[in-house]
């Protein structure tokens, strides 16, 4: 490649950026406890609301990590400079993701705000909304949640019933949301509610920015099947929201939500192996430890996990490679999430099989005794959150392969 070409496509700048990220992480990670081994031993670092003190400590670590990223110029890499971001492209974001993958940055509480809410505010918000909200999101000061799902509207989000009625220069909100991750520690939320019940279901929705401390909002944690409480029910009882908190246009909330969901699928399905999915290497060690690594059926099963793990990482590599070359990722971008969920289920099941009876009962004094149980109990959730495996297959079938939609029983 000639120098002139490098200048045009910014290869030099990108490598300089990579160096900067690498140097900074290498210096900060040991000091801040972001190395992988450290956080693994502190497995309690996973946010669990029933351990209130432990969870507060985790949130504190998370906020300080996000703030450090902000101070170092690595928060909001693709967000405009005028709203506190770095004004760079997806290519720098990919570089940052690649470099930070070796570390365990405690950033889970910001996934929804920075991955979905922020991009939506930036895409359709008013200048005042962007000025008010973007920077506190980037510094970690204000955490956001997303309130779309309802008891009667899961995969069929547009079927939601939460009502928003105009009351002078405010909106009055009544109804219930569910599966709201992080609502209990969020300062703001993005809410989808029905403003025009007489319009076809996709056309009568509006997106709102909600201050989670507004009177009339009640948050009740839901206990997940694995015992943790990451998500909540959120009840709205005559909650008043100022008119300027409409995000996008009134009755145009469906289009706004598509911006969010698109970002959600990018954020969740970018080909990363879930941190809770056991690696093939850990399965090898377990088999060796238990003295069963000569068993040919188990060897075959471990190798299959290894294959899927490499496939996922190669898919991710292809996605990142396309972005780095300024191209849109092809079909590989759509299949990564399903590969990841299948891998998670397979690896969790095999891990438990290799661990044997110890995966199902352990001494209460063994701090790591519940490891395989925790892994097994987490796996089913990955195939539901962020678009079920079935909805993902619909999306692949319809948007990637161009197959016809299922005729709808309700008006669209």
């Amino acid at each position: 490649m000639t120098e002139a070409q490098q200048h045009i496509d910014g290869t030099d700048d990108l490598e300089a950026f990579r160096d900067r990220v690498r140097t900074w992480l290498a210096a900060e990670a040991p000091r801040q406890g972001w190395l992988r081994e450290e956080s693994r031993s502190a497995a309690a670092a996973r946010p669990q609301t029933h351990d209130v003190a432990g969870f507060e400590r985790y949130l504190e670590r998370a906020r300080s990590c996000q703030h450090a990223l902000f101070d170092a110029g690595f928060a909001g890499i693709t967000w405009p400079k005028e709203y506190g971001g770095q004004g760079l492209s997806n290519r720098e974001q990919v570089v940052f993701n690649e470099e930070s993958q070796a570390y365990d940055l405690p950033l889970i509480p910001f996934t929804i705000g920075l991955g979905m809410c922020g991009p939506t505010v930036l895409a359709v918000g008013t200048d005042a909304q962007k000025r008010r909200h973007a920077t506190p999101m980037l510094t970690g000061e204000e955490i956001w949640c997303q309130m779309f799902s309802e008891p009667g509207a899961g995969s069929d989000v547009a079927g939601l019933q939460m009502r928003a009625e105009r009351a002078n220069d405010q909106w009055r909100i009544n109804g219930q949301k569910v599966w709201t991750s992080g609502a209990h520690y969020s300062r703001f939320g993005m809410l989808l509610a029905r403003t025009s019940p007489d319009l076809p279901k996709h056309r009568g929705l509006t997106m709102f920015i909600v201050d989670m401390q507004t009177p009339g909002i009640q948050i009740r944690p839901l206990r997940q099947m694995n015992g943790a409480s990451g998500f909540n029910e959120v009840f709205f009882d005559d909650v008043l929201i100022p008119a300027e908190n409409v995000l996008g246009e009134v009755d145009d909330g469906w289009r706004t939500s598509l911006v969010t969901l698109m970002n959600e699928r990018v954020a969740i399905g970018a080909g990363r192996q879930s941190g809770e999915t056991p690696t093939a290497q850990s399965l090898v060690e377990l088999a060796e430890h238990r003295g069963i690594s000569h068993d040919s059926a188990l060897r075959d099963a471990v190798a299959e996990v290894y294959i899927q793990e490499r496939v996922l990482s190669l898919l991710s590599h292809r996605i990142n490679g396309s972005i780095l070359q300024g191209k849109a990722p092809g079909p590989e971008g759509s299949v990564a999430k399903l590969v990841a969920t299948a891998l998670a289920r397979r690896a969790a099941a095999l891990g438990a099989e290799l661990a044997g009876p110890a995966a199902q009962a352990w001494s209460p004094t063994d701090p790591a005794g519940d490891h395989w149980a925790a892994v097994m109990l987490m796996a089913p959730g990955l195939s539901i959150a962020g678009g079920t495996d079935e909805i993902m297959r619909n999306i692949i079938g319809e948007r990637v392969l161009g197959l016809p939609k299922e005729p709808s029983a309700t008006k669209r």
Partner: protein, 370 residues
């Protein structure tokens, strides 16, 4: 690791695809199934004269194109899409991979030049691997009049059609590769009846067949190992092409075929099957791109990368070619429909050069499972 095809690769792919689609429409593939040779010699010559495909991986000093295995994998993918029968796998992949390990040797150099010229086809009489041996079953003996080889070997791809046989055999000096003229005395070639109708195989029986050594025992050991891995990689690329073609056919049919008043592809049971086929195809595409890149850039990682690609591609092509039949329903089970040709190719290639269990066992070993 770079897995994104360059503009040059895409342009090359377009020209190969245009050629293959022009030369091997389904009617031509059907004709060649019943042809005594099993491939069209004029097409093979054009593959050489117009596109220089046989010598793609042969160095330029020997008259080849000096490209890499990434380009070879790309050709295999395109040939696999169309099921175009040709000596490409036996000559341009297996024989070339073996001979490149001893290219300093005059005999090897001559054979590589002949491959690049497109004038000679070569079959490598290598056995299929079993759990604990390399597949070398033939025995070479030295006498004052030269080397001779005895033994029988099955499943030799292109063995009955090739001009020259390249044969690995055990000798007092260790394993060696030998050149045997296909028409020499003591060479008996019996075409096998094959599950895959679009690729010929033979049983070869050698009775004191006169043989000329090619390279030395060191190059032979390297050739057996690397030749096997490059072949497995190339077959995985071919499986990718076949699987991608099956996916296209299934999606086209699911979008067109009407039942219960709507396209069957609008039913989730069918749509999700198509989505799973895409997941398989993109997974295989990832491992094949990686293995081909490794073959050119990181030789020490080739055994793992080849096993990754071959295991993934064999299982995926088996599933995808079966789903293609299922989506086509009754018509997909007929002789006239091409779906079974891909299913046959899938089931056949899955068992050649290490089935997926064999490759997973090798991966388990490489992961440190004792």
């Amino acid at each position: 690791v770079n897995l994104i095809p360059t503009e040059d690769h895409e342009a090359f792919r377009r020209s190969v695809r245009a050629f293959v689609e022009a030369k091997a429409p389904p009617t031509e593939v059907r004709r060649l199934i019943d042809d005594p040779t099993g491939y069209d010699d004029a097409t093979w010559r054009q593959m050489s004269d117009q596109l220089a495909l046989p010598g793609l991986a042969v160095t330029t000093e020997l008259g080849g194109d000096g490209s890499g295995w990434t380009e070879v994998a790309l050709v295999m993918e395109e040939l696999g899409r169309a099921l175009l029968p040709s000596p490409y796998l036996s000559t341009a992949v297996i024989a070339t991979a073996v001979l490149l390990e001893s290219s300093a040797d005059a005999e090897s150099a001559e054979l590589l030049s002949l491959i690049a010229s497109g004038k000679t086809t070569i079959a490598v009489a290598v056995g299929q691997p079993t759990a604990d041996d390399s597949g070398v079953t033939l025995v070479a003996q030295h006498s004052p009049t030269g080397w001779t080889i005895d033994g029988d070997i099955n499943f030799v791809i292109g063995g009955a059609q090739a001009d020259v046989l390249l044969v690995p055999a055990t000798s007092p000096d260790g394993p060696l590769f030998f050149r045997i003229e296909a028409t020499a005395d003591g060479v008996h070639r019996t075409p096998l009846t094959t599950l895959d109708l679009t690729r010929r195989q033979a049983r070869i029986e050698l009775r004191a067949a006169p043989a000329q050594p090619v390279g030395d025992s060191e190059s032979a050991s390297r050739a057996l190992a690397r030749g096997f891995d490059l072949t497995a990689t190339a077959i995985a690329a071919e499986q990718l092409g076949g699987a991608a073609k099956c996916l296209e056919a299934a999606v086209a049919y699911a979008g067109m075929r009407q039942q219960f008043g709507r396209a069957i592809g609008s039913f989730q049971a069918v749509k999700h099957m198509c989505a799973d086929m895409l997941i398989d195809v993109e997974s295989v595409r990832s491992t094949v791109a990686y293995a081909a890149w490794v073959a050119d850039n990181e030789p020490a990682s080739l055994p793992v990368a080849a096993s990754l690609a071959k295991a993934c591609a064999s299982d995926a092509f088996n599933r995808v070619s079966a789903s293609n039949i299922q989506i086509h329903g009754g018509i997909g089970f007929t002789w006239e429909h091409d779906a079974h040709l891909y299913y046959r190719r899938a089931r056949s290639t899955a068992l050649l050069f290490g089935d997926s269990h064999w490759h997973r066992e090798r991966l388990a070993h490489s992961l440190g499972m004792g």
